[in-house]
């Protein structure tokens, strides 16, 4: 123990302290991660939203998971502080409201009407979101680039729908004569509003476990807060008129913004 005390004292009054830092002297890292995003919040917020599975039988489903990839480049100035930039892409599915909430469904003027028995499901919409997020990284008692690392960043998000036309299946609607029409399918286009821009604020924790002198396994979790966030969430149905494009945008925002947490795993290459 006396020896430890000696060492402590040496460290205390030594004025020549300096450290090269880095992992084997290297401080710049490229990481590639796959991410998974559970859609629990999305599901709970829009419990009566669904999409059809693409068949005309009316089977519907909910999105369960979303995922994507992230590539990031980081440089650490010391063992505790660094900067980085994330390039990531995530994929997820949108779900739309049921028939009675859809004001743009075929209506009386077109020779049809819907009542409380009517349902409508819209084909699954695939959305792809790109992120570019510069970030500040830090670790208390860190050993960067390996070990635990916290990050906070603010960046740009761009979401697009991967297709243009979507099938809508309406069931149990009636013609103007009161005859039941079991099902009817038609298509809507999203060509005029396919892109949703936004600002994203991100906080993340990443644990890099070294496996060689130049490579580490990553495990991470990130929280992303999107702006603008969940606007007009309660609108729709009979209260206000919302057109198809508006509803799609609303669903895109809701989907992107509601599932704030992901988990990631991947590899880091500690370059120089």
């Amino acid at each position: 123990m006396k020896q430890f005390i000696s060492y402590s004292f040496c460290l205390l009054f030594s004025f020549s302290a300096s450290s090269q830092g880095g992992y084997f002297g290297k401080k710049t890292v490229v990481s590639v991660d796959g991410s998974l995003r559970a859609t629990l919040i999305y599901q709970s917020m829009l419990s009566n939203y669904r999409y059809n599975t693409g068949t005309l039988t009316g089977e519907s489903s909910n999105p369960v998971i979303a995922g994507g990839f992230t590539a990031s480049l980081s440089h650490y100035f010391t063992k505790n502080v660094g900067i980085g930039i994330d390039f990531s892409m995530t994929f997820n599915q949108l779900k739309m409201p049921y028939a009675k909430q859809l004001s743009y469904l075929p209506d009386y003027n077109q020779g049809y009407y819907i009542d409380y028995n009517s349902t409508a499901t819209i084909e699954k919409m695939n959305m792809r979101t790109y992120y570019i997020i510069p970030k500040f990284e830090w670790a208390s008692r860190g050993n960067l680039p390996i070990g635990i690392c916290h990050s906070i960043g603010i960046g740009y998000a761009n979401s697009v729908l991967t297709n243009d036309n979507y099938r809508i299946l309406v069931r149990n609607l009636y013609d103007n004569n009161g005859n039941l029409i079991p099902s009817m399918e038609y298509k809507e286009s999203t060509s005029t509003q396919r892109t949703l821009h936004g600002v994203v604020l991100e906080y993340g924790v990443k644990l890099r476990l070294p496996v060689t002198s130049f490579m580490a396994v990553n495990v991470a979790s990130n929280l992303r807060f999107h702006m603008p966030h969940l606007q007009n969430l309660t609108m729709g149905g009979d209260s206000e008129y919302i057109d198809w494009e508006e509803d799609v945008r609303r669903s895109m925002r809701t989907s992107r913004g509601s599932n704030i947490m992901d988990i990631r795993a991947g590899l880091s290459f500690i370059l120089f």
Binding site: Y7, C10, L11, Y23, G25, A139
Partner: protein, 722 residues
């Protein structure tokens, strides 16, 4: 080259060349094996303990002794250990089997202590040996420790703690139990000693050692003319006349102690001695041999005082030893070291670290302690310059004294505006000639030899108890100068070459200071070109501690220590650095020579660490360090330190936070995982030539610090530039 080959053929040490006690002979496995190897190899089953408790017991006993054995202060096969072994043979002449189970080692420490372990190791400190008045006292303490071992008191105490669920509530009960064991050891040791022919009176007096071992190893009045030389004069009035009585209370309160007070112990052994007083001999063996061994311990005590920065105590010990060894080179060196240390402390604002507070003053040494305490910086400088200059004039070829002088000049030069004009270029006696009576002037010789002879038959304990009265000569007080020290270096002040030399040191100090300022301004971004480790590096035993759930994990400690050594070896090979390995692992190959050298370097670190301001440091083991430097071809030494521990509370707190805020759960889980294991890895590179730390790398990390982390840290060290 053979400066530390101080053993002469008879096994005695030439005290003139004394450096420190060195181990000799074959290295015992107690010193070369790692703790977990000892535990694994300990097949002795303590039947009263459960298997689990037995395992815990073994871990405890081996870990405890290894802390001491690997401290760099413990030696084997040295003259003191050999002597204690000889006394043990005498005590156990009828019990060869018991004797064969014992090993004897010496611990360089000024704490007066002796202890035995369950493994059969008996350790005496040099501080205790230095306090004994005769062989009987040593034999009695040794017999006491042998009884502890023979009666298996260590395991019994452990068992008691288990049975009674030892805690704060029953600490009093435990102390009583422990006292019973002490009484048993005291009583049975008496019988053992009497049987071996030792003096009953001196056995009884052994407790005086216990009572007064906090005092220096002798009680001699410090003469007020001690520092007087033809060129230096200290008026008598500078020394206090206040008396600091030694407290004698044998019946002190021992309620909170595991050991009974002296009065009770004396009462316990008295019936065993009742009819024996007057029988036996204080010395069964040779008196000279005992005195020689005690002198080694006393010399070692001075060295230890300097390392521990007990500089006032060192001066008093030097005074005591100089009476017997007036022209001893080792004592001269140490005196120079002591004044260098005092100068360093005074000029760098750490004076209270090296002086003794008034409430601790006791006995004759108090006079010197008081005198030292009130010295101002010019007085300390004057003393240091006088002592070191005079030492060098007696030993002009001493590299060590030259180094000390150079360091002294650098320390003074670096202390800011220093004016020699404060000092007088005429000696004290001329300056104050009209006011000094003829008889008051310098007393030739610093110590009156007649008083020494008169005191010789008396022991320290006789003097404390008033059975003798120390005498010393003293000069009459000179009342008109409290600035006497300004006249103490008149020869140097009037020497232009000295002043020119100092000017050179001052210019060097100014240049160094300017360089440091420039470096600071540049934010450390000045060009760094040379490697901090160089092409050759001495590596001393890494210190490792692994604590799991607040318990020391000796197995992981050894494992991580080995990992670090391997990481250093791996990186050195990769980077083409030649290593000189002084770790425990290397002892099996290197043997006692390597062990001694390792101890020397560990002591170097201890001495360095004790200094609050370690500038221009000169190690007390200068010659030994020089030898190691020559042998290894480098002055750079790596000391490393790793500490691992778990932080379960922090980890659980993070996970609970995650559970309360579900979206944060994965992030908090990761944070918790990283918090669970923490480590600190530190490297210190010393440059023994420069006498300073040339590089420090220390990282506290949230990681388990496995192989790759260790290798990374070592890689960074080997690639660091300065």
């Amino acid at each position: 080259m053979f400066a530390f080959s101080v053993f002469i053929t008879t096994g005695q040490i030439d005290l003139n060349k004394f450096t420190t006690l060195q181990s000799s002979g074959k290295i015992p496995s107690d010193f070369s094996a790692l703790t977990h190897e000892k535990v694994a190899g300990d097949n002795q089953r303590n039947t009263n303990l459960t298997e689990k408790s037995d395992e815990e017991f073994k871990q405890n006993i081996h870990y405890s002794i290894d802390q001491i054995i690997h401290s760099g202060q413990c030696v084997y096969g040295d003259p003191i250990s050999v002597y204690v072994d000889k006394i043990a043979q005498r005590l156990l002449k009828d019990d060869k089997e018991l004797y064969s189970k014992l090993r004897f080692y010496t611990l360089k420490s000024n704490v007066s202590n002796a202890f035995s372990t369950h493994q059969g190791i008996i350790v005496f400190t040099t501080g205790l040996i230095s306090q004994f008045a005769n062989e009987t006292q040593l034999a009695y303490v040794l017999a006491h420790e042998i009884v502890h071992y023979r009666e298996e008191h260590v395991v019994q105490t452990f068992e008691w703690k288990l049975q009674h669920e030892y805690n704060r509530e029953n600490i009093g009960q435990f102390n009583n139990y422990s006292k019973e064991k002490e009484f048993e050891a005291d009583s049975k040791a008496v019988d053992m000693c009497l049987k071996a022919g030792y003096s009953a009176t001196e056995i009884y007096n052994s407790f005086d050692v216990l009572m007064f071992c906090h005092l220096p190893f002798d009680e001699i009045k410090f003469p007020s003319d001690y520092y007087n030389t033809p060129l230096f004069f200290v008026p008598e009035k500078e020394f206090t006349t206040e008396v600091f009585p030694i407290k004698i209370d044998e019946a002190y309160d021992d309620a909170n102690s595991t050991h009974p007070n002296v009065e009770k112990r004396k009462e316990t052994i008295r019936p065993h001695l009742e009819n024996q007083f007057g029988t036996g001999n204080a010395f069964v063996g040779s008196t000279d041999e005992f005195t020689t061994i005690r002198n080694y311990a006393r010399f070692e005590s001075v060295r230890t005082s300097i390392i521990d920065l007990e500089l006032s105590k060192a001066l008093y010990q030097l005074f005591l030893l100089e009476k017997e060894f007036p022209d001893n080179y080792a004592l001269t060196r140490w005196k120079a070291h002591t004044w260098l240390g005092l100068l360093n402390a005074k000029l760098n604002g750490h004076w209270t670290d090296v002086t003794v507070p008034k409430q601790k003053l006791e006995g004759e040494s108090a006079v010197l302690y008081q005198y030292i305490k009130k010295l101002d910086k010019y007085a300390v400088s004057s003393h240091a310059l006088r002592t070191i200059t005079d030492a060098l004039s007696v030993y002009p070829d001493s590299e060590e004294l030259k180094k000390i002088r150079s360091s002294m000049m650098k320390i003074i030069a670096a202390s800011g505006s220093w004016s020699w004009t404060k000092y007088s270029d005429i000696p004290f006696e001329k300056a104050f000639e009209p006011k000094v009576e003829e008889n008051d002037l310098l007393v030739s010789g610093t110590i009156d030899s007649t008083s020494t002879q008169a005191n010789e038959p008396l022991t320290k304990y006789d003097r404390i108890k008033g059975t003798g009265a120390g005498k010393s000569t003293s000069a009459t007080a000179i009342s008109d100068s409290s600035r006497y020290y300004l006249f103490g270096i008149s020869d140097l002040i009037s020497d232009p070459s000295f002043l020119n030399e100092f000017k050179g040191y001052q210019e060097e100090a100014d240049k160094l200071s300017a360089e440091r300022s420039a470096k600071k301004k540049a934010g450390g971004k000045t060009a760094k070109t040379s490697s901090v480790v160089g092409e050759r590096l001495i590596v001393v035993e890494p210190s490792t501690v692994y604590i799991t759930r607040q318990n020391y994990d000796f197995e992981k400690t050894d494992a991580y220590q080995t990992k670090l050594v391997e990481a250093i070896n791996y990186t050195a090979e990769k980077e083409g650095v030649k290593l000189f390995d002084y770790s425990t692992k290397s002892l099996n190959q290197g043997g006692t020579d390597v062990f001694n050298q390792r101890n020397t370097m560990m002591n170097y670190l201890l001495q360095y660490a004790a200094l609050p301001e370690a500038t221009h440091f000169v190690p007390v083991d200068f010659e030994l360090i020089q030898h190691i430097q020559q042998k290894c071809g480098t002055s750079r030494v790596l000391f490393s330190w790793t500490e691992y521990y778990t932080n379960a509370r922090g980890a659980v707190a993070s996970v609970i936070t995650g559970a309360i805020i579900p979206p944060l759960f994965p992030a908090m889980l990761l944070t918790g995982v990283s918090k669970y294991k923490l480590c600190e890895i530190a490297f210190i590179v010393f440059d023994m030539e420069e006498g300073n730390v040339s590089y420090v790398q220390s990282n506290k990390m949230k990681t388990s610090g496995g192989n790759l982390v260790l290798k990374s840290e070592v890689h960074n060290l080997f690639n660091a530039k300065k």
